[in-house]
């Protein structure tokens, strides 16, 4: 089958939307309690329905057929015919997974896992078979055989056939249909939809023309109208959904059942109970009559069809495009700082005007930069959203009761950071479930609630984002950790450690205290990888724990990897940049506060602490103005909870710098985190503070940076 490029584009969107739909289904399913929350089930149902419709349209018959069974089951839950059992939810979750795989396989044009599909299908049929009331098993068994059936038939046929007779009847619907202005440009034709509606029942339509502009301001391709449609006749809700299926993301839709018993169409119109009347708009009326089919509509369903706010408020932008803009803005920043430098040496008369212009340019640049950076920022919920499922599955597997709390899901951070933090977070959550939280019996025995709490929180602090993973489990067993660490030679037998230091031993490579290796965790690869990944992002991770009360893992990350607030420092003739975030303070140190420790490491006393002196001139092989700490300035920096004083000759400007990777054309260099371009067009190197501190402390051997 050849697909023309335009079609391929649409199919791609379908795959993307299906994945989002599946995510929505999954989170909906996980949120299903013992009682069926109508709104929630509706969300799940709609997602399944769109996937079914779309896949059939594009000829993915197997996906459509499989989804059909899922949809049938959901529809029964939605109508209250079938109780929401945990068994059914489990099956539906598996169906979500299966669908995800099917969609991935279809997109990659690979064969589907027929065995799994068949097995799940029979599970679903099995559940459907246990029909609590008299309604016969619907044609849901057909999907496999119906594979290949053309889409519209699949959507129309089964959707009508599925709903079992419900107790309540409604004899009509009030439909509020407020399309967005682009509706027509998106090639939707409301009159066709009305014609479809007309085939279901008698329509009384009122158009709201209040948004209609004057003729000269009218754009013939915009839709200014909205409608209130009264459809009479016993019409099942799915039929309506079907008609509006293609436009429901481009309009506000509201379905309200009218009338309680079979009544004349005219009566239904008058009997419309909820007066959601469309304001004081002029209402041209149109009435058309056609025979109505006797069926039912859901009962207490006053279900406004609304898309999640986040969805309508967002755009899909290709990352490359955004990266392009970010590069441009970076250059703009460079131009601006070049101009600022230029302003210092010209005719005094023009100076004021130039300064004024420049300050405006500076403001514009900054604003542009901020708004462009915002495009890359995504709420952390993108990373958090997978956890309800993970926790659900894992807690079942481990026989633990866990309540997952998510807070600060709206906290935004850079897409790259977000993508890279996802896996470490999964690891931490799995660890907390496996090692942290206890089994219910143990919890009860220690006087805790049976259900453990796992909390994921995100918030801003300074220029950073903090993510915390908290559990109220057993906490770290410090004695055991220390013992293991000594066994493995990670800690010398006579070395005394603080509680905090012991806790953080779990980030050492090859460390695991689990007595038994499970397939969840315990192989001792992991926490060190977590820490490395986080360090690679310019962040750091810490754990604190109280035995018996739980642990908290705190991750600190920069908001973005593209821009950095930098302090320019001079060493000899060279200029380096230190991240302002890493700088604690800058001081001049008198000679008597500097001491030499065994061999070569110099330390200086800062209040109650002895800090090592890092001489950039020696580290980077530069000829400095002076090698002695008292002549230069000591920039006190901190990383991973360790401090050091970096000796430089002079402090220059502070400015935002655009981080350029050295690796893109070269390779990574120890002690250097990246490069940037200064106002004069030259390249300056950004110092890797954690790396620098590590290298000094390692070369300093066993010397502790802390005063005894």
């Amino acid at each position: 089958m050849t697909i023309d490029p335009e079609m391929a584009e649409i199919v791609k969107v379908f795959f993307q939307e299906s994945r989002e739909g599946l995510d929505a289904m999954e989170s909906g399913l996980l949120g299903l309690g013992a009682t069926a929350d109508t709104e929630n089930i509706n969300t799940i149902f709609r997602a399944a329905h769109s996937i079914k419709g779309g896949s059939a349209t594009f000829g993915f018959a197997e996906v459509a057929a499989f989804t059909h069974g899922v949809e049938t089951l959901l529809d029964e839950m939605r109508n209250g015919v079938r109780p929401v059992t945990s068994e059914a939810v489990q099956t539906l979750l598996q169906a979500c997974d299966c669908l995800r795989e099917m969609i991935a396989a279809t997109e990659a044009e690979q064969p589907l896992d027929q065995g799994r599909i068949a097995a799940l299908n029979s599970d679903i049929l099995h559940i459907l078979g246990e029909r609590p009331n008299e309604t016969p098993t619907p044609a849901a068994g057909a999907p496999r055989s119906a594979a290949g059936a053309p889409q519209r038939a699949a959507a129309a046929g089964p959707a009508a056939g599925v709903p079992p007779a419900a107790a309540e009847q409604s004899t009509g619907w009030r439909i509020v249909f407020e399309p967005v202005a682009e509706l027509l440009r998106l090639r939707n034709e409301p009159t066709r939809m009305f014609a479809e509606l007309e085939r279901l029942g008698t329509i009384a339509a009122r158009a709201d023309v209040s948004r209609l502009p004057a003729l000269d301001a009218l754009d013939p391709e915009s839709c200014y109208l909205s409608w209130t449609l009264e459809v009479s006749g016993q019409i099942p809700r799915p039929k309506l959904d079907e008609i509006f299926d293609w436009v429901d993301s481009h309009c506000r839709l509201e379905f309200t059942p009218t009338g309680r018993s079979a009544a004349a169409p005219a009566a239904a119109v008058q009997a419309a109970p909820q007066a959601l009347a469309p304001s004081a708009a002029p209402s041209p009326e149109a009435k058309v009559a056609s025979p109505a089919n006797a069926e039912r509509g859901p009962a207490a369903a006053n279900v406004p069809v609304q898309k999640a706010a986040a969805e309508s408020g967002s755009i899909r932008v290709a990352t490359e495009k955004v990266d392009g803009i970010i590069n441009l803005v970076g250059e703009l920043l460079i131009t601006q700082s070049m101009l600022s430098g230029f302003a210092d040496g010209i005719d005094p008369d023009d100076l004021d005007r130039l300064r004024q212009g420049l300050s405006q340019l500076a403001r514009n640049t900054r604003e542009l930069q901020e708004s462009v950076m915002q495009i890359r920022m995504l709420p952390i919920s993108f990373a958090f959203n997978r956890f309800p499922r993970i926790v659900h599955d894992l807690s079942r597997k481990l026989g633990k009761k866990v309540e997952l709390k998510l807070t600060g899901e709206g906290t935004e951070l850079d897409k790259t950071v977000l993508e890279k933090i996802s896996d470490p977070l999964v690891h931490l959550v799995r660890n907390a479930l496996d090692h942290g939280l206890e089994i219910p019996d143990r919890r009860l025995a220690t006087g805790k609630q049976e259900t453990g709490t796992l909390e994921l929180a995100a918030f801003h602090e300074g220029g950073n984002i903090i993510i915390e993973v908290r559990d109220d489990g057993a906490g770290l067993n410090k004695v055991k950790i220390l013992q293991k660490a000594r066994e493995r030679g990670l800690v010398a037998a006579d070395q005394e450690l603080t509680d905090e230091q012991i806790d953080n031993l779990i980030f050492m490579p090859g460390f695991s205290t689990a007595d038994q290796i499970s397939d969840v965790s315990g192989r001792g690869v992991g926490m060190d990888v977590v820490r490395r990944n986080i360090n690679d992002l310019g962040g750091h991770v810490q754990i604190s724990s109280k035995e018996g009360l739980g642990s908290t893992i705190r991750i600190r990350l920069p908001l973005t990897l593209a821009i950095l607030d930098g302090q320019l420092v001079r060493v000899g003739k060279e200029i380096y940049i230190i991240s302002l975030l890493a700088i604690v303070e800058t001081i001049q140190v008198p000679r008597e506060r500097v001491n030499k420790l065994v061999g070569r490491t110099e330390v200086f006393r800062l209040r109650e602490e002895y800090l090592p002196v890092v001489k950039l001139c020696d580290q980077f092989g530069v000829e400095p103005d002076s090698r002695s700490a008292e002549d230069g300035l000591l920039v006190v920096v901190e990383a991973d909870g360790k401090r050091a004083g970096v000796l430089v000759d002079d402090l220059l400007a502070q400015q935002q710098v655009v981080i350029k990777s050295l690796e893109s054309n070269f390779k990574s260099v120890s002690g250097i985190a990246g490069a940037t371009i200064l106002g004069d067009g030259t390249v300056a190197l950004i110092i890797d503070v954690p790396g620098l501190i590590r290298s000094v402390i390692n070369s300093g051997g066993a010397i502790s940076a802390h005063a005894a």
Partner: protein
């Protein structure tokens, strides 16, 4: 530099079996690089030195927003170094490395010509070939009674310089 560009235009009549090479001078010998790899030729300008790198890595420059390393080919080949003069140029080339394409500048004494080199006119390098390690030499060619040393820049730069193993604990 302008000669090189003009020549590139004039000589664009090469047949299938011939390839165009940009040649440059280095310590009296003429070397050639595949012209399709040459991005531009620019004058020598100040670089920003990078610590912890071999001496032939002079530093990095800002090439229209990209940070590009500059290598001194004389040092790379272990030749005697000279003061950079008016003919000293930087040839910016694209090389393939194990980790993808890189843009790198190499400092040479002077650019020379653009030649069409027929595959028939080339010979594999002998074991000893001037002062250059022969693994970097793709072939030798004789053009107008002169010997050209055709360099394999992917080997010379791509894999031996850009991707040198970085000491552990290096910056991210």
């Amino acid at each position: 530099m302008s000669t090189a560009k003009a020549a590139a235009g004039a000589d664009r009549s090469g047949t299938d079996s011939s390839e165009q090479y940009l040649t440059f001078m280095l310590a009296g010998e003429e070397y050639g690089v595949d012209i399709l790899r040459v991005q531009e030729i620019k004058g020598w300008d100040k670089v920003t030195r990078i610590p912890h790198t071999p001496d032939y890595v002079l530093g990095v420059i800002n090439l229209r927003g990209a940070v590009v390393p500059i290598l001194d080919l004389r040092r790379r080949f272990g030749l005697e170094t000279i003061e950079f003069g008016p003919t000293t140029v930087v040839i910016v080339v694209r090389v393939m490395s194990a980790r993808g394409e890189r843009t790198v500048g190499v400092v040479v004494d002077a650019v020379s010509e653009v030649y069409n080199v027929d595959a028939d006119d080339t010979k594999p390098p002998p074991d000893v070939c001037g002062s250059v390690d022969t693994v970097f030499v793709k072939a030798l060619a004789t053009i107008e009674e002169k010997m050209l040393i055709l360099l394999d820049i992917d080997r010379l730069i791509g894999n031996s310089i850009v991707d040198e193993t970085v000491p552990a604990g290096a910056a991210a």
